[in-house]
């Protein structure tokens, strides 16, 4: 029995593929070799942002090509890249304030609150709300609301105010982690341990280990030990 197929349209051209594939695999099945717009294939890197419509619905839908199952009569296009402005800065020198954000990205003040960014976010991040928080200098809130951002760029592609939201968000997360969040004591302890050569013996023994030993050590490793 032949596998059930669905027909999807890539940039207007129909392709029939087996049901149940992700958009990314459906494209490969249809013969496309993806050099850009294809990264981790696991929903983390944000390289395969995709916009699509389905039959009989005016709504523009979005998903990551590696995570979204292809549907019958789906019209889609990948947007692997969208031109963005990116400010250069030294995070050490910047105070965590609204003025910092506005001086580096003055366009955040052009937000009219249309919410197009939120509607097009494959991660369902409250993009408009974090831009509102950025305008008033609530850095912690920007960092918190934007935490799951993959920087796929779809928000920037739809913004009528031409804001590059994800670059504003990563600035806020950097400001938060450098200037607002409490320093992580275990990080400082680990860096100190490494600097005084506390890991050298372990590293040397791993360098000398066989593949089988390495596999055994890997399987037995402790992730996030309870205490340091």
């Amino acid at each position: 029995m032949a596998a059930e197929t669905v027909q999807f349209y890539l940039m207007g051209k129909p392709h029939a593929v087996p049901k149940g594939l992700t958009i990314q695999k459906a494209m490969e099945y249809a013969g496309f070799r993806q050099l850009r717009g294809c990264g981790c294939r696991g929903g983390f890197c944000g390289a395969c942002g995709t916009v699509y419509r389905t039959a009989g619905d005016y709504k523009l839908k979005v998903g990551l090509a590696c995570q979204t199952v292809v549907e019958d009569q789906m019209y889609l296009a990948l947007i692997p890249f969208f031109p963005a402005v990116k400010a250069n800065y030294s995070i050490e020198d910047l105070p965590p304030t609204a003025e910092t954000i506005i001086s580096l990205y003055p366009e955040v003040l052009r937000c009219v609150g249309c919410n197009s960014c939120r509607k097009v976010c494959p991660q369902e991040i409250e993009v408009m709300r974090y831009i509102a928080a950025a305008q008033r200098g609530d850095i912690a809130r920007v960092a918190n609301l934007s935490f799951d951002c993959l920087m796929c760029g779809l928000c920037a592609s739809r913004c009528p105010a031409e804001i590059v939201q994800y670059n504003v968000a990563i600035l806020a997360r950097r400001l938060y982690s450098r200037h607002i969040a409490k320093p992580a004591v275990h990080l400082a302890a680990r860096v100190e341990e490494i600097e005084r050569g506390g890991c050298d013996a372990d590293l040397a023994s791993m360098m000398a280990a066989t593949d089988a030993d390495l596999k055994r050590m890997y399987a037995a490793r402790v992730i996030e030990p309870e205490e340091l």
Binding site: A98, C111, C114, R129, A132, Q135, R136
Partner: protein
């Protein structure tokens, strides 16, 4: 009483003392200001272009988020003006209501009542009742009330007070025990956002207002707008920087005087951010012993 509260961007940043003093004073009157969980900038100015709906989108979404409570309190004159006028469009203009509410995907009919804290004090609590709650009467403090533009005008839309002869701030100040100073410039424009593009022009407007209040004998002025406060305060800051007012009259938010009169913690006042420090003139009341806690 619990009231949904829209602070607006300025009260979350430059005008933190307005926000904190209003929250503290309201709480002392058992009025809980419940900040909306999520909000954006209201747009700051009401868009008067009848053929554009863009400027209505953000304020309508804010209003719709308060529709279950049916009421939304705000303090900044720009926010108050923008929200109130937007609400009128949504309530009365079916075509623009349809356009905007389908765009934001909210069913909203313009049913929220936008209220100012001064209105709650006047209409819900009453100024007589407020006077009875004062623990630190501001006896002898000569205060010039300044309204500016946006609280009062356009009068038929704002419905706040008489645009030519308003009295709400005067009655409010009297209930705190202040001596109200009359002066002729209380409803003139401070220069508003002209200060960004033509600071000299704005400073001339605000300088004239401060001078007039000082000539009339004012020791402090009160406002209900962060931009009025900024303009009137900064106009006096430093003559070398273009400040033109001759007088040095501290410019306070009405809520700061209210908080002092109700015996709130001085940490809510944020006077350190004022260009003209109000503390020397207010020391008699700021150093008043804290009232004994109610039994």
């Amino acid at each position: 009483m619990r009231v949904p509260y829209f602070p607006g961007c300025t009260l979350h940043s430059k005008a933190a003392g307005f926000d904190a003093s209003a929250r503290a004073a309201a709480l002392a009157l058992d009025i809980h200001l419940d900040e909306l969980p999520y909000w954006t900038c209201c747009g700051a100015t009401f868009s008067m272009a009848a053929d554009s709906a863009m400027g209505l989108v953000a304020p309508t979404r804010i209003l719709a988020s308060a529709k279950d409570a049916g009421k939304l309190l705000t303090l900044c004159s720009f926010c108050y003006n923008t929200l109130k006028r937007t609400n009128k469009v949504i309530a009365t203009d079916a075509e623009r209501r349809r356009k905007v509410t389908t765009f934001i995907e909210e069913d909203y009919q313009g049913t929220v009542k936008i209220v100012h804290l001064l209105e709650i004090l006047r209409d819900d609590l009453g100024f007589d009742a407020l006077a009875r709650k004062v623990v630190t009467p501001l006896k002898g403090l000569k205060v010039a009330p300044y309204y500016g533009c946006l609280l009062l005008r356009p009068a038929d839309e704002m419905g706040f007070d008489d645009p030519e002869r308003p009295t709400i701030l005067e009655k409010f100040l009297a209930s705190l025990g202040c001596e109200v100073v009359e002066f002729p410039h209380r409803t003139e424009c401070c220069g508003s956002f002209v200060v960004v593009g033509a600071p000299d022009t704005a400073r001339e407007c605000s300088g004239r207002i401060v001078d007039a209040a000082a000539v009339a004998g004012a020791e402090v002025m009160v406002v209900s707008c962060p931009l009025c406060q900024y303009n009137l305060d900064r106009a006096q800051h430093d003559p070398a920087n273009g400040g033109r007012a001759k007088a040095k009259v501290p410019v306070l938010y009405f809520s700061q005087l209210l908080a002092i009169a109700l015996g709130c913690e001085p940490s809510c006042l944020h006077f350190e951010s004022h260009a003209v420090d109000p503390r020397p003139r207010l020391s008699a009341w700021l150093e008043a012993p804290a009232p004994a806690p109610a039994a």
